[in-house]
């Protein structure tokens, strides 16, 4: 097992732990929630038919982006009972969680469609070595910092650093910034807000 396998499996172990905690009833106390997170995280490394459990979703989805890992870590911290105000779900996005998720979902949609061949332009290629992409992502991170959406600023910064450091097997910056599960999460946030607005639960 090389380091990039450990990091890849780690991302899926995080996701499985969050999934395990999310399946608990809402009123579950913090101790049970923390225990569930720890147990599922450990189980993810145990072999099933010769492979760690986390290797199965990893085979299908690939390594999760750093952005996804940052959001998963936040979810784990909140689930573990951390109540610092700066961890509040609305504050981490500067009060604009739905807007950031909408931007992420639209970016992912355009990106995947173009990268899979729908156009002659291949934006995935920029992820190997493009000053333009570095500049654009840095600008987005600065904008996020300015807007007090600190989780997005940190996610992009850590994605850049992880890419430079070769954290994952991928040598493409896009694989550190976004992944399909993150896009599904962002889309889910937007759709839920739209449904709530439509049902009159939110003005």
């Amino acid at each position: 097992m090389v380091l990039t396998d450990v990091t890849g499996l780690f991302s899926h172990a995080l996701a499985l732990a969050v999934l395990g905690a999310a399946m608990l009833p809402t009123r579950t106390n913090v101790k049970t929630r923390v225990a569930t997170i720890v147990v599922v995280f450990v189980l993810a490394w145990l072999p099933v038919n010769g492979l760690p459990l986390a290797a199965y979703p990893r085979g299908i989805v690939g390594d999760l982006s750093i952005t996804a890992c940052v959001l998963l870590m936040l979810s784990i911290l909140r689930g573990a009972g951390a109540t610092a105000p700066w961890l509040d779900a609305s504050r981490v996005f500067g009060g604009r969680r739905v807007a950031w998720c909408l931007g992420l979902a639209l970016l992912a949609l355009a990106f995947y469609v173009m990268a899979l061949g729908a156009s002659t332009i291949d934006p995935y290629r920029w992820g190997y070595a493009s000053y333009g992409l570095i500049a654009a992502m840095s600008a987005i991170a600065c904008f996020a910092w300015w807007q007090r959406a600190w989780v997005m600023a940190i996610a992009v910064a850590l994605a850049l650093l992880a890419w430079v450091g070769g954290w994952y097997e991928s040598s493409n910056l896009w694989d550190y910034l976004i992944d399909p599960l993150l896009a599904v999460y962002a889309l889910g946030v937007v759709v839920k807000r739209a449904v709530d607005v439509g049902a009159g639960r939110v003005t």
């Binding site: 690939g62 290629r125 992502m137 991928s170 896009w174």
Partner: protein, 433 residues
């Protein structure tokens, strides 16, 4: 929406962003500069008699085989790779290999190189099936094997996996995954050999077939990591399985299988900047029944291609020659011809009879029992009482002694091998209309 005007902006977070931006720019600055193609050296000119020999490279009976490729070893022998199992895409499919010795014209015993279980253990990822092995020589002298693995769905869900050998294929290091696509890293497949660049990097022709079908040239560094890619055409061109021919340090052309609407023709594209940009793929005059093609450029600029020279079915196989850099082609050898004329197939008895003749006419085969060979062929070739011949997935290699080797799938039952030389080609070309 809440506006958190009272929350402070965190200067450490901004500092982290600035450091990350600088680190990113530094990494881009260190990207390898553009390099030129390595033009394959011309083999020695030797006056020999025309040579044409046929053999079966694979020897296992009652399995389905497909997707053979060739690579020359350092001692002049030629190693073939292919996949074999109960059927294409089955979980028992493994990559197999055998070695041809030109000194005695014999194929050695088959060996299993890697299977699905070993692959998923090396990759620490679930793997459902594998296929399409391509062997190649890296600049550092090691042997690289690229093959396709699928974790979910069909071949459109493929990823490329690679292994390295430092002893010409006797033993292999653990498999590693190539990350080539952002959407689940799927839908990149390999069919033909990589080309070398002067800086020691490789260009691996690959193709996508999920949303759109198009070719690509992946750039791999000395460690085998992808550091760039160049698309060949767009999804609207419906190109698959590119095979490259290097013409000069900056120029190359490639042929592609065509999977789009009629007329069914092989596609061709060219580059004048060592693969960084490609012309829009154009249809050639070569018919193509949505099947793989093989191509090879000889040192005098003539080009060879092996393909099913027809718009439907794969029951014939032809060797084509171009003397004008790929602009026009003519058939110089009908390698296989079992066309049934109507696409209805032939009855099992007729198939067995014809197959027996083809097997008996093969110069070299590991197992002498013709009946057993025929029975192996009937498995994949027949549906009930109707059978159809298939000759597909050709792969060409020119060895350093000048011999030209061709392998192809023979009725999904065996890997057929043909070796010929330039003298034979000259005779055929002189005689062809």
């Amino acid at each position: 929406m809440k506006k958190l005007q009272t929350a402070r902006r965190s200067w450490p977070v901004l500092g982290l962003v600035v450091i990350a931006a600088c680190a990113g720019a530094y990494r881009v600055w260190h990207q390898p500069p553009a390099a030129a193609f390595v033009v394959p050296p011309a083999p020695p000119v030797v006056d020999t008699a025309p040579r044409f020999m046929t053999a079966f490279a694979s020897s296992s009976q009652h399995v389905q085989v497909h997707a053979a490729s060739l690579v020359e070893l350092t001692d002049g022998r030629v190693r073939a790779f292919w996949f074999a199992g109960s059927r294409e895409g089955a979980s028992d499919v493994a990559i197999r290999s055998a070695v041809f010795d030109p000194l005695n014209d014999q194929w050695g015993a088959e060996q299993v190189v890697v299977d699905r279980v070993q692959t998923q253990r090396d990759l620490l990822r679930y793997v459902k099936k594998l296929g399409n092995p391509v062997g190649a020589r890296a600049a550092d002298g090691s042997l690289r094997l690229f093959y396709v693995t699928v974790s979910l769905g069909g071949w459109a869900g493929s990823s490329i996996t690679t292994m390295t050998s430092h002893d010409d294929g006797e033993t292999w290091e653990p498999a590693r995954r190539l990350i080539t696509s952002p959407f689940l890293n799927i839908s990149t497949l390999v069919k033909s050999a990589p080309v070398g660049y002067t800086d020691g990097t490789l260009g691996l022709p690959v193709y996508h077939e999920l949303v759109g079908k198009f070719g690509e040239l992946l750039r791999l560094d000395a460690n085998g990591t992808v550091f760039d890619k160049h698309r060949v055409g767009a999804a609207s061109d419906h190109g698959l399985q590119p095979v490259m021919m290097i013409e000069s340090p900056q120029r190359a052309s490639l042929l592609m299988r065509y999977a789009g609407p009629a007329p069914q023709r092989v596609l061709r594209a060219t580059t004048v900047d060592a693969g960084a940009h490609w012309s829009a793929p154009e249809k050639t005059a070569l018919p193509n029944p949505n099947a793989a093609v093989a191509a090879l450029r000889l040192s005098d600029g003539h080009m060879l291609a092996v393909l099913n020279h027809q718009e439907e079915s794969r029951d014939s196989l032809s060797l084509m020659l171009s003397v004008d850099g790929g602009a026009t082609w003519r058939e110089v050898y009908r390698l296989e011809d079992q066309r049934d004329g109507g696409g209805q197939g032939i009855d099992a008895a007729a198939f067995a009879q014809r197959a027996a003749i083809l097997i008996e006419q093969t110069d070299v085969r590991a197992v002498p029992l013709v009946d057993e060979f025929v029975a192996s062929a009937q498995g994949p070739a027949c549906r009930g009482e109707r059978c159809g011949f298939e000759f597909s997935y050709p792969y060409l290699l020119q060895a350093s002694n000048g011999d030209i080797h061709l392998v192809y799938t023979w009725n999904r039952a065996f890997i057929k091998h043909v070796v010929f030389n330039r003298a034979l080609l000259d005779v055929r070309a002189a005689g062809a209309p």
